[in-house]
């Protein structure tokens, strides 16, 4: 399956213009015969929304998504936006749009504390997978990818492709990119493809640095986009490589979730008594 990485520069708060860009990139991906196109976290809205978040939130059936739904006959479109549910709760959400409908969604679970996401979004509470032609696929948004609990669920479910939309900005010239490190490690540990799609552009001095990448199930970098520029790149996902990686490194077979459950239960029971 061909997967297109759309490393774009959204305009903060301008859904109309951002939709145009999503359409443009999706058309290019279709031309390049991709079956899946992935956009960054909050690609439809820009990242530092703050008070804009409730103003820019849309529902699954919003007419704004119509043009993209029309394009989604032969390609699955994975994009980021602010979603509002029937209880007026808003989420940092990733939609999968295919054959004219929203077929899957992931609401970010582990919101970013450094950028005050908790002040503006509700947290998601589940990690579901979606079936595709290459097998089960899951999404972890931004910091979801850095928590062991969410990685563990992805591992348990033995997904073949992990999609990680992010909106990462430069914040220190002294540390390596932890997502890159995690990508290399987990792709090998899980025996899965990991696609991290980051945005570019600047918002009030926060520089989003791009450098989207794809790791194969052997932990090798298959694709890496440049810093600071928009671009569309296509990569081939090969399920046979997943099989090969898992046969050669098969520790998943020996994993004992009941052990985890027992230990976590014990830990929580201990924690409960601790602060009385």
């Amino acid at each position: 399956m061909k997967v297109a990485i759309a490393q774009i520069k959204p305009k903060l708060g301008d859904i109309k213009e951002n939709i145009e860009k999503h359409i443009e990139y999706t058309k290019k991906a279709v031309e390049a015969r991709s079956q899946l196109i992935i956009f960054p976290e909050l690609s439809l809205t820009g990242y530092f929304l703050q008070d804009l978040a409730p103003e820019i939130a849309i529902k699954e059936n919003s007419p704004i998504l119509e043009p993209l739904k029309k394009l989604s006959e032969d390609i699955q479109i994975v994009l980021g936006l602010v979603e509002e549910d029937e209880n007026y709760h808003i989420f940092n959400t990733i939609f999968f749009i295919h054959k004219g409908k929203v077929v899957h969604k992931h609401r970010k679970i582990y919101l970013s504390p450094y950028t005050n996401e908790y002040s503006f979004f509700h947290t998601g509470n589940s990690l579901e997978t979606i079936s595709t032609s290459i097998g089960e696929v899951a999404v972890l948004t931004g910091e979801d990818f850095l928590h062991l609990s969410t990685l563990y669920i992805a591992w348990l479910k033995e997904i073949n492709l992990l999609i990680v939309p992010t909106a990462r900005f430069f914040a220190s010239n002294n540390t390596s990119d932890i997502y890159e490190l995690a990508g290399s490690l987990y792709s090998r540990l899980l025996g899965t493809y990991i696609v991290v799609v980051n945005r570019v552009g600047v918002e009030d001095g926060y520089v989003f640095f791009g450098k989207s990448f794809v790791k194969d199930p052997f932990g090798e970098t298959v694709l890496c986009l440049p810093e600071n520029s928009e671009g569309l790149e296509v990569v081939e996902i090969v399920p046979e490589l997943v099989r090969s990686a898992r046969i050669s490194f098969s520790i998943r077979r020996y994993e004992r979730p009941e052990f985890l459950l027992k230990e976590v239960k014990k830990f929580l029971e201990n924690e409960e008594g601790k602060y009385e």
């Binding site: 409730p54 900005f169 430069f170 914040a171 220190s172 010239n173 009030d204 001095g205 926060y206 520089v207």
Partner: protein, 280 residues
């Protein structure tokens, strides 16, 4: 929900209580920073009058220095009104004509338009206020109200540059309402708002709508978080509402500090999350 309801919502329910809170605020903040005196630009308008009143209630009228800074095209009435305000409130009062310095500068740029003159005057006044504040060991009291701050009808680093602003969270119509609970003369409360930066200028002409309508739209959008559609349904012209929202959006930069490019984990304008009153 309709415009009548909106108008009622805008009215301050307990104006005297609000006044007391703001007076308390001024007293506390000045004390925290170790200052007893305040300087304030007195234009002869209602905003500076209310600010000066609050200042004199908080710090004592003898500790307020009102400064009138006319330019040669300032309305004579404004200058007289400034004197009237200072007299009524019993505060100290100085007049400083800014014509020489403004004209000296623009003698080099005779083609300058009135906006450039207006901004230069606003910034010259700020410059004078800060020099006088230094001289008197005082802080600068601000006079911008919520309506003008939200639509950006103020000069960045001009009248927006102050130390403490007692009325920045009050809409113009609320300023008028509060003024009635003070000793500010009726004449001042009733006059047409003007920045007086050029002859015949009035706020409502510049903005294109009356403060009454502007405040209702702003209240609906900013305070009630209503959508454009909802606001229009309350009974406002769509074009007008769109223009107001656009003014709020495009003036946001005036309400923020200059942007710094983020390189480190803790960038001075973004990640030093301490209040101004840190340690005070």
């Amino acid at each position: 929900m309709n415009r009548e309801w909106l108008k009622k919502q805008l009215e301050l329910k307990e104006p005297e209580d609000i006044l007391r809170k703001i007076i308390y605020f001024v007293r506390e903040e000045f004390e925290k920073f170790g200052f007893k005196k305040a300087v304030i630009g007195i234009s002869g308008g209602i905003d500076s009058a209310l600010s000066a009143f609050i200042g004199s209630q908080a710090l004592g009228k003898e500790n307020i220095i009102g400064i009138s800074m006319p330019y040669k095209t300032s309305a004579k009435e404004s200058i007289e009104d400034a004197r009237l305000v200072a007299q009524t409130l019993g505060i100290n009062f100085i007049e400083i004509d800014i014509t020489p310095q403004i004209d000296a500068y623009f003698s080099r740029f005779p083609e300058a338009n009135k906006l450039r003159y207006g901004n230069k005057m606003a910034r010259e006044r700020m410059s004078i206020l800060y020099d006088m504040a230094h001289k008197e060991g005082a802080l600068v009291l601000g006079t911008s109200n919520k309506s003008e701050i939200l639509v950006g009808y103020a000069t960045r680093w001009g009248d927006m540059a102050v130390d403490i602003n007692p009325i920045g969270d009050l809409y113009k119509t609320q300023v008028w309402q509060l003024a009635r609970y003070t000793s500010i003369p009726e004449k001042i409360i009733k006059k047409k708002p003007t920045a007086d930066l050029w002859p015949g200028q009035t706020d409502e002409n510049e903005l294109g709508i009356t403060y009454e309508i502007l405040d209702q739209i702003l209240y609906a959008y900013v305070d009630l978080r209503l959508s454009l559609e909802d606001i229009v349904n309350l009974g406002f012209d769509k074009n007008t509402v769109e223009k107001v929202i656009e003014k709020v959006k495009s003036s946001q930069y005036k309400r923020k500090l200059p942007i710094i490019c983020k390189i480190s984990q803790r960038t001075p304008d973004k990640n030093l999350l301490y209040f101004r009153d840190w340690g005070r």
